[in-house]
């Protein structure tokens, strides 16, 4: 039933899928996790451990990024605390 495809053009828009997937992949790359120091994942885990001693937070509550500003590398750490 090939002619039915005509009415389902929206669903077959793979370019849209490509764009959405790329946005995520690129955001990950730019967050510095791809080209940051090798110890970054371990640092993240350990910091998460310390935070959890005091308050329970989900994995995704801790955001890491390495940014370059001028000649400096800045490590940015964001911990979102859960609503009490």
């Amino acid at each position: 039933m090939d002619w039915l495809k005509f009415f389902r053009a929206e669903k077959n828009n793979t370019a849209k899928t490509a764009k959405d997937r790329l946005m995520l992949a690129v955001a990950y790359q730019r967050s510095g996790q791809a080209n940051g120091p090798a110890y970054l994942p371990r640092l993240r885990e350990e910091l998460l451990g310390v935070v959890r001693k005091y308050i329970q937070v989900p994995d995704e509550a801790v955001q890491f990024s390495v940014q370059r500003e001028g000649g400096l590398e800045v490590l940015e750490l964001n911990i979102t605390l859960p609503d009490q």
């Binding site: 053009a9 077959n12 828009n13 793979t14 370019a15 849209k16 490509a18 764009k19 997937r21 790329l22 946005m23 992949a25 690129v26 790359q29 730019r30 791809a34 080209n35 370059r68 001028g70 000649g71």
Partner: protein
């Protein structure tokens, strides 16, 4: 003082060498003394695309090692006085390119060329890194396809952090998007990332869009940079791109679908 431009992409097979060859040829056609260097040590290819493969005697690595002078190694284009080619070595020694060696060759070339075009190899290894390192400007060649766009983004990250200009912290490498193998008909059908999508993701200024074109292959068959092919859409796109690079205001072409008339539909004219 010469301007150094790297043609880079991260991903292989997107049109770096095709773009380097046509871009350098275009600059020379416009009267600028231009040298184009193949940085792909071990997998030399620019010489074939430029049609000078039988005239390579000495290469880039020979010059770095002092086995030949720059003058001996530069191949003068047969059609354009102002165009010179420096071929890559076919050595398998990965460490043949050194930072100091590359810097010296670029400094020497800068004495009497207006533009130095560095054709980067794929990947982000040594050859690619050195091609980028000394650049003032970069042409980031990208296909409207997920892996190419992601790799281009990766390369942009390296350019903005690891290139010499970035290390000095004064200015940054000027980046230009070159979108190649673009097919507006497929974009219209939702089968291909659009120019707007790619621009939005990479967020760098657009220099030119080169349409998918059969003449790219036929020109490479005969060793003629596609920009020299009269009436080829890809060739015209490269001419526009060069003009824009030199500061001309040229509207973008080949970004919307050309509706074929009945005649060309029937007889397949392109």
């Amino acid at each position: 003082m010469a301007k150094i431009i790297v043609v880079t992409s991260g991903k292989g097979g997107v049109g770096k060498t095709t773009t380097s060859a046509s871009f350098a040829t275009g600059l020379a056609m416009r009267g600028h003394k231009t040298a184009v260097i193949d940085f792909d040590v071990g997998l030399r290819n620019l010489d074939l695309i430029m049609g000078v493969e039988r005239r390579v005697v000495f290469d880039f690595v020979n010059v770095i090692n002092g086995e030949a002078t720059l003058k001996q190694a530069l191949i003068k284009d047969k059609h354009l006085d102002k165009l010179h080619i420096l071929a890559a070595s076919q050595t398998r020694d990965k460490d043949a390119l050194t930072t100091e060696g590359v810097e010296k060759v670029l400094n020497d070339l800068a004495q009497d060329f207006d533009f130095i075009v560095c054709d980067s190899p794929a990947g982000i290894e040594r050859g690619a890194f050195l091609a980028m390192y000394f650049a003032d400007e970069a042409l980031v060649v990208t296909n409207p396809e997920v892996s190419s766009v992601r790799d281009s983004d990766r390369v942009l990250g390296i350019l903005s952090s690891k290139a010499r200009l970035a290390e000095k912290g004064e200015t940054k490498v000027k980046e230009h998007l070159v979108l190649t193998r673009y097919n507006p008909a497929r974009v219209a059908k939702g089968e291909m990332l659009s120019l707007e999508d790619v621009k939005e993701i990479l967020a760098i200024p657009l220099l030119g869009v080169v349409p998918e074109s059969s003449s790219v292959l036929t020109c490479s068959n005969s060793g003629v940079p596609v920009i020299r092919e009269e009436g080829s859409d890809a060739g015209l796109a490269y001419q526009d791109l060069v003009a824009r690079f030199l500061g001309d205001e040229v509207p973008h072409r080949f970004i919307t679908e050309q509706k074929k008339g009945l005649f060309s539909k029937l007889f397949g004219a392109t």
